[in-house]
């Protein structure tokens, strides 16, 4: 009865336009608070775009407005050339969403959830079942497939949540902090999934608090703060603007901190900052790993012993310090420890 291939999930609308998503001047109020305050974004078709920002920056609000879950107070947004405010139903046919918070039915099993969402996405019973099996396999949930979600660990729930958003491969996929709370293996699985989805031609908007995640996956990054985009560019462009990598040197003898800061600052040709509590000297280096050898040599020549020396990417806090001249948000200091450790 029902013909297959009824509705292409990737409709041939506006095939010439290279823009998959465009938002200009979005504004969104929650009561008197402005969650989006002139938010602009443009994403080229088939690319992965990272939206980076601290807690409360407005990432989730932006995603909810663009995916028609929340209304837009002011501004214009189009997906695939379709106006988000005027034609929300058409937009929903083209998008997939993995929200920040779990949205699966706790009382059902993983398989029952996936089959339900697959059938609601328009798959027949048979295809929904095989699609569920594929996704369970891909996200390492096969063993737990027939257990109630209420007994899942946070990471298992997250993977199920993500797979539920991938039932059909949409023209445009929104992932809101997909790896928050995942262990390294879960994170690798999600990263691989994002790469595969992008390779299949889907445009991806990925929000994250982790610079390294955006760097790994995205070809362009928008940094957002206080409801608007404060910087935009390719990862290398942004890194250049962020002033490159940091070297942390932990000095063995606290008495030699000032002298060590002089030496390191001279070698790196930049002002080194000193944290006496941890006996750590931090300096921006332009040429990454190549900067380490001269620092070690000069400290050695000056007779200063070091406990630890590490090259790391700027933390999100430093990014915001650099871009806005002030800490990004009051709670930016609550970054998970591993972010600091990168």
């Amino acid at each position: 009865m029902t013909p297959r291939n009824l509705t292409p999930t990737r409709p041939p609308s506006a095939p010439g336009t290279p823009t998959a998503l465009s938002a200009t001047g979005l504004r969104k109020h929650y009561g008197r608070a402005l969650a989006l305050d002139g938010f602009d974004l443009e994403i080229a078709r088939g690319t992965v775009h990272g939206l980076l920002g601290p807690n409360g920056a407005g990432k989730t609000t932006a995603v909810r407005c663009l995916t028609t879950l929340s209304s837009i107070d002011e501004g214009a947004a189009t997906i695939d050339g379709i106006d988000v405010r005027q034609h929300p139903a058409l937009v929903r046919e083209r998008i997939g969403l993995v929200g920040q918070f779990h949205a699966v039915d706790e009382a059902l099993t993983a398989r029952q959830n996936l089959v339900l969402f697959a059938r609601l996405s328009g798959l027949s019973k048979v295809r929904a079942r095989s699609r569920a099996d594929e996704l369970l396999e891909s996200f390492q949930l096969t063993d737990a497939a027939d257990r109630a979600v209420s007994g899942f660990s946070g990471g298992m729930r997250r993977r199920l949540d993500i797979s539920a958003g991938l039932v059909l491969t949409p023209a445009m996929l929104f992932l809101d902090e997909p790896t928050t709370g995942l262990d390294p293996r879960g994170r690798a699985t999600v990263w691989q999934a994002v790469r595969e989805i992008a390779a299949a031609g889907t445009t991806v908007l990925l929000t994250t608090q982790y610079l390294d995640e955006a760097d790994q996956l995205a070809s362009r990054i928008s940094v957002m703060d206080h409801g608007r985009v404060v910087a935009e560019g390719s990862p290398s462009e942004l890194k250049r603007r962020l002033g490159g990598d940091r070297v942390d040197a932990v000095i063995a003898d606290a008495a030699l901190l000032a002298q060590a800061a002089d030496v390191i600052g001279r070698v790196a040709a930049a002002a080194a900052s000193v944290d006496p509590d941890t006996r750590t000297i931090t300096v921006e280096v332009a040429d990454g790993a190549k900067a380490l050898t001269p620092i070690v040599r000069e400290l050695d020549l000056a007779g200063i012993a070091i406990d630890d020396l590490a090259l790391r990417r700027p933390t999100l806090d430093e990014v915001f310090l650099h871009l806005t001249g002030q800490p990004g948000a009051a709670d930016a200091a609550q970054q998970p420890a591993h972010e600091e450790a990168r």
């Binding site: 929903r92 949205a103 706790e106 609601l120 328009g122 996704l135």
Partner: protein
């Protein structure tokens, strides 16, 4: 690396267009899975109704007179049927509030579903569970001596009027569930259905109540359905005179219509209001 598992390779298509009836069934099917996986909520609900029936039928029943004469059990049963429809309000409200809180509603809203699907799914599931409760109560009633004495047409009409009340309360439940999502709201409704249930002719005739209470009870929509159902089953109505005694079936048809006309638009607005 293969690209056949995570991405949806086979044709990148859906098999079916958005269709409210199909989606409503699927969403209602989710409730059936809940009942199968966690049957205790449903079983306790049914057991509770039977317990109420036995309590009022045998414990208090001997002390209650039915104006106009007649057996109390025969009077009570149709009242219990109507009360069960009222109790359904709470499950509609809880289900809507929980889904909204847990992000399930957002998941539905991000899918290309027809706009009526979620409400339709709720309606199918809730009418089904209320029909089941009704069936269990009727069986219980038959076991303790309740008998409909009229023809099949009247019996069918009685069941239709009962489910019609349940249908109307569905919109009130959806509206309340989406508008008041705090933990206190559900408890408030759980508590408030009791005075609404008692301030009706479910357990005693309005004619045995003090003046103003009797008037309130007569104008209670639950009383209209209870009285109409009694009439249609050929059971004692406990109403010997007054507007309701004469027009019970009309009242039981109009009250749910009024509730639906008021709360269906409010429920739809509350659902749209989730976009806020």
């Amino acid at each position: 690396m293969t690209t056949t598992t995570i991405t949806h390779a086979p044709g990148e298509t859906r098999d079916r267009r958005p269709n409210a009836v199909r989606e409503g069934w699927l969403i209602a099917g989710r409730d059936v899975l809940h009942w199968v996986r966690e049957p205790w909520g449903l079983i306790f609900g049914l057991a509770f109704n039977v317990m109420l029936l036995l309590m009022f039928g045998f414990l208090f029943g001997g002390a209650i007179d039915v104006p106009g004469g007649g057996d109390y059990i025969a009077f009570l049963l149709p009242g219990m049927f109507a009360l069960t429809m009222l109790f359904g309000l709470e499950s509609t409200m809880t289900a809507m509030a929980e889904d909204a809180k847990r992000g399930i509603t957002d998941r539905f809203r991000s899918l290309p579903l027809s706009s009526a699907s979620v409400a339709l799914g709720r309606a199918i599931a809730d009418l089904a569970s209320s029909a089941l409760s009704l069936g269990v109560l009727m069986l219980g009633g038959l076991l303790i001596g309740w008998r409909p004495t009229t023809g099949p047409a009247e019996i069918v009409l009685a069941v239709v009027l009962l489910l019609w009340l349940r249908f109307a309360l569905l919109w009130l439940g959806i509206y309340l569930g989406l508008s008041f999502r705090g933990a206190g709201a559900t408890t408030a409704v759980q508590v408030l259905v009791w005075p609404i249930g008692f301030l009706s002719t479910v357990f005693v005739s309005a004619e045995t109540m003090p003046g103003w209470l009797g008037t309130v009870a007569e104008w209670n929509p639950v009383s209209a359905t209870a009285t109409a159902t009694r009439e249609l089953f050929g059971n004692p109505t406990g109403a010997t005179s007054g507007w309701l005694a004469e027009n019970a079936v009309l009242a039981a048809s109009v009250w749910p219509l009024v509730i639906t006309l008021v709360f269906l638009p409010l429920a739809a607005a509350a659902y749209r209001g989730l976009r806020r």
